[in-house]
């Protein structure tokens, strides 16, 4: 018999045994059915008002008024269609396009809003406030994620974002109170973040301790330390120790009068503006400068960088320290912008959400920025809704940011690729 089988390429295109991932279409289908049942069939029979501007604004836009069942049905139909299209795509062996998921997400959120606001005691919500509040809540998340980007792009896992934020907040409160100056508080926050970073850097880079464990231990340490000082020193004499002045809100003339986006972009404390600067600077730095090229090389293939004369561990040390500055500034937001006093564990897990935003944003500063905005939106939505008095119990609404986190990271990210040497200490030779 002949065993000299020659396999022609045409033969190989018989039935594609391709590995199809049904995860996305199934997720979309489940959500679409949910939307159909709840947002469309279960829609409240009244009108919903979305206010676009405050009556006192320079330019007043009329509110958007929709009839909830109409919005629910239109949304549900679009979602069912999108889910069906996703099935068709996967069946044909093609990936589900990103725009389809984006459209689905936007429509889902719109339908959800019209349903939940419509079911509230007062079916009337200020959309501009919802969005502006989201950005405000996202500020510390964005700083936290940027801190993660700096560390992890250079190959050091940063679980300690939570600790960096908390210690930044604490330092800002204490230094701000003692000096009476919010700007001194801001500087102190950066220093506080760096202190946490230095511990992380020394243990993970020099002593090669498991980076995840160092990070978790640091979070517990900072929580314990600040909690102890809070209950002994800060509570005893809050006047001296725990009443920092707030950072003033700076409105940029004219620009802040633009409806909807004006208050979001151009009416913030200095920390908010710094946040935009940080995103831009880190993005450009990472992808268009010598420092960025070396940072990424050290995070992907440290040995290759070493053979070209790049000092791997020095590079990592620098980046982790810089990450401390960034996260510390984010921490200042808690005590110098949102409330003017430090509270025990006041960061409340935001550092972990920032970590999720970092992964969801695929280790890219701009991706992390948008991911953090999404989480900020979910958090603010929860506040606004509980204020409106919706039929959904408060506890469920409080879960919203975390549910969004799980779905975003597990369901939508798919195969995101961390820097190859992330978490691997570099030992020469």
């Amino acid at each position: 018999m002949s065993t000299a089988v020659s396999t022609a390429p045409e033969q190989s295109t018989t039935r594609a045994g391709a590995v199809r991932s049904w995860k996305t279409p199934i997720t979309l289908a489940v959500l679409a059915v949910f939307a159909l049942l709840v947002f469309a069939i279960g829609a409240p029979g009244n009108e919903v008002t979305f206010r676009l501007s405050d009556p006192g604004d320079a330019i007043v836009l009329p509110p958007i008024v929709v009839f909830a069942p109409v919005m629910g049905w239109i949304g549900a139909v679009i979602m069912v269609a999108a889910a069906a299209l996703a099935f068709v795509q996967v069946r044909a062996g093609r990936p589900v396009p990103g725009w389809l998921i984006a459209v689905f997400a936007v429509v889902f959120v719109a339908a959800f809003l019209s349903w939940i606001v419509g079911s509230a005691r007062t079916p009337n919500v200020a959309l501009y406030g919802l969005l502006a509040g989201s950005v405000t809540l996202a500020v510390p998340l964005i700083f936290g994620s940027l801190s993660g980007v700096l560390c992890e792009r250079s190959g050091v896992i940063n679980i300690a974002i939570e600790g960096q934020l908390l210690f930044g907040a604490f330092s800002a409160a204490v230094a701000g109170s003692l000096s009476g100056s919010a700007f001194v508080g801001l500087m102190a926050a950066a220093v506080g973040g760096v202190l946490v970073s230095l511990v992380l850097a020394v243990f993970s880079i020099k002593y090669l301790v498991n980076q995840v464990i160092v990070g978790v231990v640091l979070n517990v340490l900072v929580s314990g330390l600040t909690g102890f000082l809070f209950s002994t020193v800060l509570s005893a004499d809050a006047e001296t120790w725990n009443s920092p002045p707030r950072l003033p809100v700076i409105s940029i003339p004219f620009l802040s009068d633009i409806p909807i986006i004006g208050p979001i972009l151009f009416e913030q404390a200095i920390v908010g503006y710094l946040m935009y600067v940080a995103v831009a600077v880190i993005y450009i730095g990472l992808f268009h400068t010598k420092w960025g090229l070396r940072t990424r090389a050290v995070g992907e293939h440290p040995k290759a960088a070493d053979t070209l004369g790049v000092k791997v561990n020095r590079m990592r040390f620098m980046n982790v320290s810089l990450a401390g500055v960034v996260a510390g500034l984010g921490g200042a937001f808690f005590t110098l912008v949102s409330v003017s006093s430090f509270g025990r564990d006041m960061t409340a897990g935001q550092g972990y959400i920032a970590l999720a935003a970092l992964i969801f944003g695929r280790w890219n500063p701009i991706g992390a920025f948008f991911a953090a905005l999404l989480f900020g939106f979910a958090t603010n939505l929860q506040y606004v809704l509980s204020f409106l008095g919706t039929p959904v119990p408060n506890q469920f609404l409080a879960m919203l940011p975390y549910i969004v986190t799980i779905f975003a990271v597990a369901g939508l990210v798919g195969r995101s690729r961390a820097p190859a040497a992330n978490g691997v200490p570099y030992i020469k030779g």
């Binding site: 065993t3 000299a4 020659s6 090389a297 992907e300 790049v310």
Partner: protein
């Protein structure tokens, strides 16, 4: 530039990797370092390149002693190195990789990659490389990646270029191209240090050969010396390079693969519709450049791959869809390609490693209990039979040398009656002395009437062992040819040419039917 190494010694703990090595590289010369795996060639070069600090000794450039604190210093002194495992960041473009560490910048530290691109194009033109500066490295074939590595050294004005096992990952055709590049570099006055254990290439390319054995320089040799002489210098005793095996007596074809396809999670077909048969008492060698589906093919047979379609039958029994344990128990012996990761548990003793596939069966176990006495007895027998050099049967397997580790794996897999024997890279990283022994064991398993499949990326080994040769390229079978097919034909097939075409272009054409059953 004249480069001298004087009395270089490098110790790792009590282990002496380099023992007072003296070496002089003259300008415009190709100087080869020949030695077995683990002889200390790469360590020496890493010392020269500033990656390791020598325990003793001196490096002199043009007669002046230099002191390297890191690769940066070595590069500044005009030494460039192409590592065995390429030092390229896979997610970067060629230009980014080449700029790294030597970046041209505009104001504010902004990268100026255009300057790097221009340099890459200049060098590409000069040496006839086809390298796109904006291609992402992980998408490039290894041959092109290697050129990017060479450009990396040339951009930094290297006068001495160290090539560490540069042909290990190349097809025969790419190897020829590399040798041509080396000749061109030499005519430009660059010195080349060529590190290899492949005698033929070393002879073809060198002006002078220095042989290293167990960390010491054994002596210099002339490139015109015979392969046998070079081999015995390298090993330290006379070795027979040919196996002189008897012709195969193929029986019934009991192992049949039909339309086997393995799909990677990315949807790519890593094994693409392969059909072949192996008869009892026959060795079929799977040849091909690394990463063309060999790993997936063997793993599919062992039930270690998901997304497998087609059929694999052993003595009429279907193996696809069965668990690995069941497949092993039905009489399949398997030597995986990476013994330290898949073949052995390094922290377990030699005795334990020798029963890993039968630890729960008689005579080594009864019910829930193991029988240590029988395990020790088995180990003593196998150690004697396979000449495993170990302090004792209770020594951790990870402490053994590569060759002895491989003997442990081989001893385990061959110590029971088999219906199929598969060995992947059976002699990779094994000293020449052990290679001889392992090859003989494989042939004797064949002569016992077992169908044998050998997967090897070393053409020498394939030609040594095979009764028939199947060539894989990008997961597809380019054809099955007789064991005495010429290197040139195999080389063409390994680069993706069908068997008939490859033989058609081959002047020393062999009869395609002669090896067919």
């Amino acid at each position: 530039m004249k480069l001298e190494l004087k009395g270089i010694t490098k110790k790792f703990g009590s282990f002496v990797a380099n023992d007072h090595i003296d070496l002089v590289v003259e300008p415009g010369q190709v100087h080869s370092l020949l030695g077995e795996n683990g002889a200390g060639k790469s360590t020496l070069m890493n010392v020269l390149y500033g990656l390791y600090e020598p325990t003793e000794g001196q490096i002199l450039i043009d007669g002046k002693p230099v002191d390297f604190n890191g690769p940066g210093d070595a590069m500044a002194a005009g030494i460039g190195m192409v590592h065995q495992h390429f030092m390229l960041v896979p997610v970067f473009t060629v230009a980014e990789n080449i700029a790294l560490g030597n970046e041209a910048t505009k104001a504010g530290g902004i990268l100026n990659l255009d300057e790097t691109r221009t340099k890459i194009r200049q060098i590409s033109e000069q040496y006839g490389f086809q390298v796109d500066p904006d291609a992402v490295v992980e998408d490039l074939p290894v041959g092109v990646q290697q050129r990017a590595e060479i450009i990396k050294a040339l951009v930094r004005d290297a006068e001495v270029l160290i090539l560490d096992e540069p042909t290990a990952v190349l097809t025969p055709k790419e190897t020829d191209e590399l040798l041509a590049i080396i000749a061109q570099l030499k005519s430009d006055g660059k010195s080349i240090v060529f590190i290899s254990h492949k005698l033929r290439e070393v002879k073809a390319v060198s002006d002078l050969i220095t042989v290293i054995r167990r960390g010491k320089v054994v002596g210099d040799a002339d490139p015109n010396a015979s392969t046998t002489d070079l081999a015995s210098m390298m090993v330290g005793r006379s070795v027979s390079l040919s196996l002189n095996k008897a012709p195969a007596q193929p029986g019934e074809a009991t192992f049949v693969i039909d339309g086997l396809t393995v799909t990677a999670p990315t949807g790519q077909r890593v094994v693409d519709n392969i059909s072949l048969q192996i008869a009892q008492g026959e060795i079929l060698a799977i040849a091909g450049v690394q990463g063309n589906g060999q790993t997936e093919l063997t793993e599919a047979i062992l039930g270690l791959q998901e997304h497998v379609s087609g059929s694999i039958r052993l003595e009429g029994k279907e193996l696809v869809g069965r668990g690995t344990k069941e497949i092993i128990n039905s009489g399949v012996g398997f030597v995986p390609e990476d013994r330290s990761v898949e073949g052995l548990v390094g922290a377990f003793s030699v005795a334990e490693n020798m029963i890993l596939n039968r630890y729960d069966q008689a005579p080594f176990a009864k019910g829930l209990a193991m029988k240590p006495a029988r395990v020790a007895e088995n180990a003593a027998e196998r150690i004697a039979e396979f000449d495993v050099r170990t302090q004792s049967a209770t020594a951790a397997a990870g402490t053994l040398s590569g060759g002895n580790q491989q003997k442990v794996v081989m001893a385990r897999e061959l110590s029971r009656p088999l219906k199929l024997f598969i060995a992947s890279q059976p002699t990779r990283g094994v000293d020449v002395g052990s290679i001889e022994f392992l090859h003989k064991r494989i042939v004797s398993e064949r002569d016992r009437g077992t169908p044998v499949m050998i997967v090897s990326t070393e053409l020498d080994e394939v030609l040594e062992l095979a009764d028939r040769i199947a060539v894989l390229y990008q997961g597809r079978l380019m054809g099955i040819v007789p064991g005495n097919t010429s290197r040139d034909t195999l080389g063409l097939m390994m680069a993706g040419m069908g068997a008939e075409d490859a033989q058609g272009t081959d002047p020393a054409r062999t009869d395609p039917e002669s090896g067919d059953k």
